[in-house]
């Protein structure tokens, strides 16, 4: 599935949206396209395991996890850092994995939802999310849970209002926010975070 590609240069993939449109127009980038960048071996430490992947430098951490490492628990909801579905932990801090390139994370400890617990041995937050029905479709859930782990690591969440505010980078379209608050609160209280 992985492909070695030749060529060195890299061109921005952003769409060009002109300000006004003449009646006949061409869209796209004119001239000969630059060749895609080559892939090389990138070693990522994911959930404690050194994982060697053939990646081009333009591959986001999110795509590396989902498309190359077959760790699809991390979700893509917008690819623009707007929804939080792709939240993972890097050295214990929560980040949007769509906003970082995989090559930038070499040498760091990456933790995804798959690294927190298994169906047989759930992380306390995973159990709390089930008990409080803190999700419906489940698509934002891995990001919510990783975000909550990061939140607890930050040691900032003490009150309900603080949890709501600091969990607000993770959208949930099903509207399970009441359950998410209660699940996170239960674990925060359980770990006896000092106020």
């Amino acid at each position: 599935m992985l492909l070695q590609l030749d060529g060195m240069s890299f061109q921005s993939t952003s769409f060009l949206v002109p300000m006004s449109y003449p009646s006949t127009t061409k869209r796209g980038v004119m001239g000969a396209p630059a060749a895609p960048p080559p892939a090389s071996t990138v070693t990522l430490k994911i959930n404690g395991v050194e994982t060697r992947l053939q990646l081009a430098p333009w591959t986001s951490l999110l795509d590396a996890l989902r498309e190359y490492a077959d760790l699809t628990g991390t979700k893509k909801g917008c690819d623009h850092g707007q929804c939080g579905a792709c939240t993972v932990l890097v050295n214990g801090k929560r980040i949007n994995s769509c906003l970082t390139l995989a090559v930038m994370q070499e040498g760091n400890e990456i933790t995804t939802i798959e690294g927190l617990g298994t169906q047989e041995k759930l992380h306390p937050l995973q159990q709390a999310f089930i008990d409080h029905d803190a999700f419906q479709c489940g698509y934002c859930t891995p990001g919510q849970i990783c975000s909550a782990v990061g939140l607890i690591n930050e040691g900032k969440a003490h009150s309900e209002d603080e949890i709501r505010e600091l969990m607000s980078g993770n959208l949930c379209r099903c509207g399970a926010y009441v359950g998410i608050l209660n699940a996170v609160k239960e674990v925060v209280d359980g770990t006896k975070v000092k106020s």
Binding site: T24, F135, C137, Y139, C174
Partner: protein, 744 residues
């Protein structure tokens, strides 16, 4: 004797919970099949015109690019409209992706670039040159007010408004108190968190399995079968998990077409995922203009009610939803006129979005009812109870059940409504103006034909399957509960599987009908299997059930036992072992009992009470407290049902205060097509929400007595927020969402 296998109604944890919280649940774009290629869709940047040329040559030279598909080279496909018509399509000609050079809406999918990796496909798609010829477009429904027309034939389920009754004009003019206003809400997009995607696995024998994001695997199977000339056995569609639907997955979306087309052409597995921007390119809740006239008699009863709606549709399909009909049945009124029109603009066809029609209609009706109560000097709850409809006047039929009055009473009591000072701007907390508002609504209780299969194996494990969906609604869990209860098995011994065209057929998951339709099928198939089990049990040596009929036994606690003498029992697992069979199977379907149902009007109802706090200086609005009282028949699982209503409240708050897709009419293009500018509530926006389930028994709707819970909770929420804002500030806002500038 305790019956621990009675699961229906219990607040049961989601059976798919562990898979979802660990990332093990696989969504459409997550089937990493071998030798997978990636397709990226190129969207039109113009709203109307034609494609002059697609310059694919330079892109094809990029290492790793496999193909560029457009109307210039797409293979010969089915010719007739009917081949593209899905089960829930509205009237008109369905959109055919890559069919011709014509561009009919902005962001129309016009090309697919396929490459070895996602990154290369995305890069190549971003630089693909396409030459366009642009034509003038019309995207502003406000300019089409005079061009409304009555739709001809809508989609199934659409009912033209009933003819006028009484003397709605005359009685309105004579009324003691009158109001007359217009209500508007903008375009809304479903925006489920999961992007639409399809992974089509190409098998060596030329058959395909499409892992798709859809609310109806059978609908998608027949769609691709007809377009690509595949037999049902050649085209399997699977959706095990769906990251939210809200109606967006009722119709087959173009990721399915693109992925299947490319896989068949390249004879290779292909994944096509849409971007968040492209999630605004198909289907939306239409921009709707509504006009209400209400009048009351001196005793506070409704003298006349008129409700007219006009909303957009595309140039090629007549999208319809029931916007105004509810106004003819929610309250008792003998003088009613309802009108409904569409107007064409250059956008994609609107699509059902959670409580389609009713969510819209209830905004106008329920704000108007609040205004009317205020004009007549009546409490909004009291006003509604004075005008309580005991029968459905649209259909001239009795309700199969209706506990809306209890919704009003129980909701008001829980909320503390009796402490409300009716005068606007009369309640405050420091700099915050406090407002209390209420509203309510009505939604259909429907049942469709559905089938299910059950298989009990020698180790006592039961597998039940049906090709329905679980878009987060809790289908997996409630069907497991139903099966466990009807066969008296511990819930851990029961597995329910769904979302696969290899399973018995079920309708698209929508209209709040899944619990009623598939639930009844699961009940029926378990009873069929129960009969087979009893037969085997009676063959056992010394069986205490020898002479028992099916009605005389019950399936409880892993046993079949006599109802009147529970000590006379056999263990279900022993039955199978004694029978010498390794499994017992049954397959059956459930159809609505039309004879019973057709004599009644079948609906669920709700009443919502909302508290807002409005900053007097800044105009910022916070919804601090909500009580939503729902009467929706039997509740199968109070935990997952409560979540459905909580989510509905969040949607209602969103409709009232945040959500709107804004069109740039110069370009005919949605401007805020991303999740940072299309605003939906975040955790900090949501506060105290209480759900009340009003007990309601109904033996007519279906054998389980369920009415569905996915949509009714949304009704009236947005209106109640607007009504609360009026109570807080004295400002009546009839145009949603209520941005703070509308209060300043």
């Amino acid at each position: 004797m305790s019956q621990y296998t009675n699961y229906i109604g219990k607040p049961t944890n989601r059976v798919d919970g562990p898979a979802k919280v660990t990332g093990a649940a696989k969504y459409a774009a997550e089937f990493n099949v071998p030798n997978l290629a990636y397709g990226v869709v190129v969207s039109s940047p113009i709203a109307k015109g034609r494609i002059v040329k697609v310059y694919s040559k330079p892109v094809l030279k990029i290492a790793g690019v496999l193909a560029v598909f457009s109307h210039e080279n797409v293979p010969n496909l089915a010719w007739f409209d009917r081949n593209y018509k899905d089960d829930v399509a509205p009237g008109g000609s369905p959109f055919r992706p890559l069919h011709e050079d014509k561009i009919m809406f902005n962001q129309q999918p016009i090309a697919l670039v396929v490459a070895e990796t996602f990154e290369v496909a995305r890069y190549a798609a971003s630089i693909l040159e396409i030459e366009y010829e642009e034509e003038d477009h019309e995207t502003d429904i406000e300019l089409k007010r005079a061009e409304g027309f009555m739709p001809g034939r809508g989609k199934s389920g659409w009912m033209p408004p009933p003819p006028p009754r009484g003397k709605p004009d005359k009685e309105w003019k004579k009324a003691a108190h009158r109001i007359e206003h217009e209500y508007i809400h903008g375009t809304q997009h479903h925006n489920p968190m999961e992007l639409f995607a399809t992974t089509t696995e190409y098998h060596p024998d030329g058959t395909i399995t499409a892992y798709d994001k859809t609310q109806g695997v059978y609908n998608c199977q027949q769609y691709i079968s007809k377009i690509f000339g595949l037999s049902k056995s050649e085209a399997r569609v699977v959706t095990q998990y769906m990251g939210g639907g809200f109606g967006s997955g009722l119709r087959p979306q173009y990721s399915l077409f693109m992925s299947v087309m490319a896989a068949l052409e390249l004879k290779r597995s292909v994944r096509v995922s849409l971007t968040r921007q492209q999630m605004f390119s198909f289907g939306h809740r239409p921009y709707t203009l509504q006009y209400m006239k209400l009048g009351t008699n001196p005793d506070g009863t409704l003298a006349a009610l008129q409700h007219h709606a006009l909303h957009e549709t595309s140039r090629f399909e007549e999208y319809t939803e029931n916007v105004v009909n509810w106004s003819g049945m929610l309250y008792q009124c003998d003088n009613v006129k309802l009108g409904y029109q569409l107007a064409e603009i250059d956008v994609f066809t609107p699509q059902d979005m959670r409580a389609p029609g009713a969510a819209t209609g209830s905004i106008a009706l329920e704000i108007a009812m609040d205004e009317m109560a205020f004009e007549a000097g009546l409490d909004p709850v009291d006003f509604r109870i004075r005008n309580y409809a005991e029968t459905d006047q649209n259909m001239s039929k009795p309700f199969s059940s209706k506990r809306l009055r209890d919704c009003y009473h129980q909701g008001a009591s829980k909320f503390g409504w009796d402490r409300r000072n009716p005068r606007p701007r009369s309640m405050r907390e420091g700099n915050m103006l406090v407002g209390w508002g209420m509203a309510g609504g009505v939604w259909d209780a429907s049942q469709k034909k559905a089938a299910a299969k059950a298989s009990l194996s020698g180790d006592g494990k039961l597998l039940v399957t049906s090709a329905t969906g679980d878009i987060g609604t809790g289908t997996y869990t409630i069907m497991t509960q139903i099966a466990a209860e009807y066969l008296g098995l511990p819930i851990e011994a029961v597995t329910f599987k769904l979302g696969d065209t290899d399973m018995p057929e079920a309708p698209v998951e929508g209209g709040s009908w899944t619990a009623a339709s598939v639930g009844t099928a699961v009940k029926n198939v378990c009873e069929e299997l129960g009969k087979k089990l009893l037969k085997q049990a009676q063959k056992m040596k010394g069986s205490p059930l020898k002479k028992a009929t099916f009605d005389e036994v019950e399936f409880v606690n892993g046993q079949i036992r006599l109802r009147l003498d529970p000590n006379q029992a056999v263990v279900i697992r022993d039955v199978l072992q004694a029978s010498g069979k390794d499994k017992l199977e049954a397959e059956t379907s459930a159809t609505p009992n039309l004879l019973k149902q057709s004599t009644h009007s079948m609906h669920s109802h709700n009443a919502v009470f909302v508290e807002v706090k409005v900053d007097e200086d800044l105009g910022t609005i916070h919804v601090t407290r909500v009580v939503n009282a729902v009467a929706a028949g039997r509740i199968l699982n109070t935990k997952t049902a409560r979540s459905q209503v909580l989510g509905s409240v969040v949607w209602g708050i969103s409709m009232a205060l945040m959500e709107e897709t804004v069109m740039d009419h110069k370009f005919g293009r949605y401007m805020n097509h991303n999740l940072s500018e299309y605003h939906i509530p975040v955790n900090a926006d949501i506060h105290d929400i209480q759900v009340v389930f009003v007990e309601e028994e109904d033996e007519i709707v279906n054998p389980l007595g369920v009415k569905g819970i996915g949509e009714v909770g949304l009704l009236g929420v947005a209106a109640a927020v607007s009504n609360a804002v009026f109570h807080a500030t004295g400002k009546r806002v009839r145009s949603l969402p209520i941005y703070l500038d509308k209060l300043l």
